[in-house]
Structures are given as C-alpha cells and as structure tokens.
C-alpha cells in the first residue's frame, strides 16, 4: 500500500512540475512588459530598467524559472506587483472564504448526489423516479453561473429571504455568514450532484443482483438495512472516482461563484490578478489551484486502492 501511494505521489509531483513550467511560461507569452506595467504609463526608461533588474526579468527565462521554483520550494511566494503585499499574506487573507465555500459545496454535492442516487435506485414509484430524473436533467443543463443568478433572482429578489451575495465572518456573525454561504454553495453543487447520483444509481442496480444481497435477504435483514449497509457501500466506487474529478473542478466553479456572489476569495483574487496583470500573484494562485486538484485526485486514487486491493496491486479483474 505504501508503495502504491508513493508511486501515485511521485506521478502527481511530476504533473505539478510540468504544469509549473507551463504556468511560468504563460508570463513570457503574456502581452506587455511586467516592469513597464508596474512602473506606470509615463515612467522613465531607466526606472523601468531598474525595476526589471530588481525583479530579475533581465535574466535568461530558464534562470528565472529555476529562481522562481527555488523561491517557491523555500516557501517564499514572492510579492504581488500591484498590491505591494507578499503573496502568502494575500492568500492567507482570502483562503478562508474560498475554503468555507468549497467545503460546503462538496458536502452538499455528496448529500444531494447520494439522495438522488438512492432515490433513483430504490424508489418503486415511477412518478418519483421520473421526477428525480427530470430534476437531474435540468440541473445538468445549468452551469454555476446560470444556477447562481437564478438562485439570487428567486431567493433574494423575488422572495427576499436570503442575501444576494457578500460574506461575513464565520466566527463573528455565524448566522449571517451561513445565510450568505447557502446560495453560492447550492449553485456550485447543483450541476455536479446529478452526475454522482446517476453513477451511484447505476452501480446500485448492478450491486443489487449480487449474491451477498441475496444472502442478506435470506437472513431476513430489512430492505433499508440492506440498502444502506450492503448495497450503497459496495456501489460507491464509480461515484468516488467521479467525486475526485469533480472536487478538482469545483475550483473552477468557485471562481465563477465568487464573481457572481461578490465574495472576496482566492477565485476573485486570481481574476483581479489577471486583470491587473499581476502575473506573479496569478502564477502562484494557478499553481496552487492545480496542486489542490492533483491532491484531490490522488486522495481518490488512494481511497479506491484501499477499497479495492486489485487496484493497488495492478491486477485487472
């Protein structure tokens, strides 16, 4: 097991290293010279040159990359060009908001997905099944920016029951903070939950035909017990794999949700950084996002390997 995990971690790090080259390369493709942007529109030529030297932009790109990488590895994330603050400090200020939203959205996604899947697989009523299925279809057709704006329109504009955006300190004003978390996290969870639900339902139908279910029935276990104790745990595989991918994709959703719901998290920081051409900051944020995404996929692979020894031993069934 340790060996398997180690191998996965190594391959994850290799991907991260490769993306760091790409992310760094983006800066050199980018239009405009960072030094002259920083110096302002009517800066003198030698001021720009001085800034360029200070930032190391006059060195060879490879040297710059290695320098940057060395700094990152020693925990120095650099300074933001435009905000004049250390990048690590900026991330520290904004990460709480993003973390709250992503964790809530993931939780909601799992909850909705499981409910949907179990409902689809176990309900005997055609009407209920059709109902869940139509809802899933509708949710799938709505990306976060559509569901987000529709939720604001319904809950904030028409019914006026929830705030349309912004955020509050979770420790200072917990009730307010939670009420501001509800809509954005639903907007993020809604398009992904049906995917999980359908995967779970399909796998549950398959699991139900297995002999151990028959054994449990023969022992006289109740239907509910069999469903939750035997069928669901043995049907999670495909849904967990998908969840790993989707949690990574939530990082895209969080950027959109923060824009729509006016939340000051890492997603909006990234957008600001790109818009103000603060590429140092943007690079670190992009890399951070990709690192989180790789970690999520790694975690699922390890989970799967724990659930199914065939995977970690590299045996095909």
């Amino acid at each position: 097991m340790t060996r398997y995990v180690l191998r996965q971690v190594m391959s994850g790090l290799a991907v991260l290293l490769a993306t760091s080259v790409i992310v760094f390369g983006l800066l050199h493709l980018a239009p405009g010279d960072p030094a002259s942007i920083l110096a302002g529109p009517d800066a003198a030529e030698d001021t720009i040159a001085a800034i360029r030297t200070e930032m190391g932009l006059d060195q060879h790109p490879v040297a710059q990359y290695l320098d940057w990488l060395r700094q990152l590895l020693t925990g120095d994330l650099g300074m933001s060009y435009t905000l004049g603050q250390p990048v690590s400090e900026l991330i520290g200020q904004r990460i709480g908001s993003t973390l709250q939203l992503t964790v809530t959205a993931t939780f909601l996604m799992i909850l909705l997905g499981t409910a949907m899947g179990v409902g689809l697989a176990t309900s005997k009523s055609r009407v209920i099944k059709q109902g869940i299925d139509s809802m899933a279809t509708l949710a799938l057709a709505m990306p976060p920016f559509v569901s987000g704006v529709l939720l604001i329109f319904l809950f904030a504009v028409v019914w006026g029951v929830l705030p349309s955006g912004g955020e509050a300190s979770l420790l200072g004003e917990p009730a307010d903070a939670v009420s501001r978390l509800i809509l954005p996290s639903i907007a993020m969870a809604l398009p992904t939950a049906p995917v999980l639900g359908r995967l779970l339902a399909t796998e549950m139908r398959r699991t139900r035909d297995q002999e151990f279910v028959l054994t449990a029935q023969a022992k006289g276990a109740s239907t509910r017990w069999i469903t939750w104790r035997h069928v669901v745990p043995n049907s999670l595989g495909p849904a967990i794999v998908e969840l790993g991918i989707r949690v990574g994709h939530l990082l895209g959703g969080v950027v959109v949700a923060e824009a729509i719901f006016a939340r000051a998290g890492l997603g909006s920081l990234l957008v600001e950084a790109v818009q103000t051409r603060d590429y140092r900051l943007a690079q670190v944020l992009l890399l951070l996002g990709i690192a989180v995404m790789i970690a999520a996929q790694l975690a699922t692979e390890v989970c799967m390997a724990r659930l199914d020894p065939r995977i970690r031993l590299g045996v095909s069934s």
Partner: protein, 294 residues
C-alpha cells in the same frame, strides 16, 4: 438507468463504443425525426434564426446608446435598456451571435484535432502515451482555470475564449475517438482489409474512420452545449468576452448587478443559454439512441 439520461452526464472517460451493427442509411434522419431530436433541433434552429433575422426587425443596434438607462420593457425597447441606454433585445441577439460564432469555430476545430490525436493511438505507442498524458492534464484542469491561463497568455477576448473551448473539448473528442478506434480494431472487417493487403493508412481513413465518425458526431452536440457553458463561465468571471462586445456570458455578468432593477437584463441571456444547452443535449440524446444503439 432509464434512457432519459442525457449523454452530458457520462463521465468523459467512458470511451464511446462505435456500433458493431451495420450502419443504416437513415440513422441521422431517424434521430431528427424522433420527438426528442426534433424538439432539440427546433430549439437550436429557433435560436439561430432569431439571432440572425432579429436585428433586421429592430430599430436599434447593439452598440447604440440612448438617453434612458435601465428602462423597463416597453413599446420602444421591447426588453428595456441597459445601464447606458442600449437596447437589451438587440444586445441579447448580438450576444447570441457571438456565442454561436465562437462555438461553431472552436468545437469543430477541436473535434478534428482531437480525433486525429486520438487516432495516433494506433500509429505509435510512445506518441499515444504522450498524447494520453496531455489529455489527462487537460481534462483534469477545470475549464475556467484553463481559460484564465489562456487569458494570461493572450489578452482576453473572442480568440482566448475560442482557444480555451478548443483546449477543453479536444481531449474529450480524442478519448472518444481512441476508445471507438480500439473497439473497431478487433473486428473482422479490419482483419479482412489487412488480408487484402491494403496499406494501413487506407484501412484507417477509408474503413475505420467512417465507422467512428458517428461517435464523434454524438459527442459533438454535447460539446457544443459544453462550449456555451465555458464561454459563459469565462465571461461572467470577467476574463472572456470584453465590453462593449456583448456575449451571453458577459450580459449575464453585467445584468446580475441589476437583478433588482431590470431582471430581464440577466434573465434573457440565461434563457437563451438554457434553450441552446437543452436543445443540444436533446439532439445528442436522440443521436445517441438512433445512431449508436441501432
């Protein structure tokens, strides 16, 4: 699972299986005539027609500013006006056209490149491994993040959105083509062609490719919907189509600041997005049933 599941729900890893049964001539026609296919096609055709013909019937252009900002819908401006007095209906139609152009350029390009890269699988083992790794990374990165990366490299705008869409959808076509291709290789007709001594390239292009085209077509409809979503996401964030150019996404972005005053500003483009996405999904579903499951 009931058959109503839209193909959009499938995981991208599910390499499409090309049909083993012979292709019937009327398969696309049958898809179009099925209720779902007909409705889906009608929705998409409706949006295209209205966005193309509409401007000729309107008295205002999408960039024409008027004296009344955020005006309510009325006889003069059917949908009201935006914050600088431009006609909202004209802008929704112009935005729809921008979305249609972007997706109709980016997705076919991605489909062709992706398919060709997928076919590399039979040419060389090493090239296949490299391409597959690249696809892994591209599929893993969320579309919006990828699009932001593109927006750094070249200034945000129509080109950056098109490139982002192409980068996101290309690996999906590639996987699909590769999966279908590998499914075909073991079939008798390929062996027969080999026995006849045909060169590999001819077998590939003349015999196998036509058999996996169906899989690509079905995927194509889903990816058109996907592309609309990518444009929307990027523009809503502010790194897609830039003002004053309207697009469905940028109008939703601008309109969402005025949801209390003129809700139609954001809701009208959302409605168009839903029409297109649902339409494409229905078409793909109908194709899936008529073409792949004959």
């Amino acid at each position: 699972m009931s058959t109503t599941a839209f193909t959009g729900a499938e995981s991208v890893d599910g390499g499409g299986q090309a049909p083993v049964v012979p292709r019937s001539r009327g398969r696309y026609w049958r898809a179009v005539r099925s209720p779902r296919g007909a409705i889906g096609l009608a929705l998409v055709a409706f949006v295209i027609l209205v966005s193309v013909i509409g401007p000729f019937l309107l008295s205002y252009g999408p960039f024409e500013q008027g004296p009344n900002s955020l005006q309510q819908p009325g006889s003069d401006h059917l949908m009201g006006t935006d914050e600088v007095g431009r006609d909202l209906l004209a802008r929704v139609l112009a935005g729809t056209r921008v979305d249609l152009i972007i997706t109709l350029v980016a997705v076919p390009v991605a489909a062709v490149i992706g398919t060709l890269l997928g076919l590399v699988a039979v040419v060389s083992r090493v090239a296949d491994a490299v391409v597959q790794r690249m696809f892994d990374v591209l599929i893993g990165v969320p579309a919006v993040i990828l699009g932001i990366g593109v927006a750094i490299a070249i200034a945000p705008g129509m080109e950056s959105v098109m490139i982002a869409i192409a980068l996101v959808t290309m690996p999906i076509f590639g996987r699909q083509a590769r999966g279908a291709l590998l499914g075909q290789l073991s079939l008798d007709y390929v062996a027969a062609a080999e026995v006849l001594g045909y060169p590999r390239r001819r077998i590939m292009m003349r015999h196998i490719l036509p058999n996996i085209v169906d899989v690509i077509f079905v995927r194509f409809a889903v990816e058109m919907a996907h592309a609309i979503m990518i444009e929307g996401g990027l523009s809503v964030v502010g790194l897609g189509i830039q003002s004053p150019q309207p697009s469905l996404g940028s109008m939703i972005k601008d309109g969402s600041s005025y949801l209390f005053e003129t809700p139609l500003y954001a809701l009208a483009p959302i409605f168009v997005v839903l029409l297109l996405v649902v339409g494409y999904f229905m078409v793909s579903d109908a194709l899936n049933q008529a073409v792949l499951r004959t």
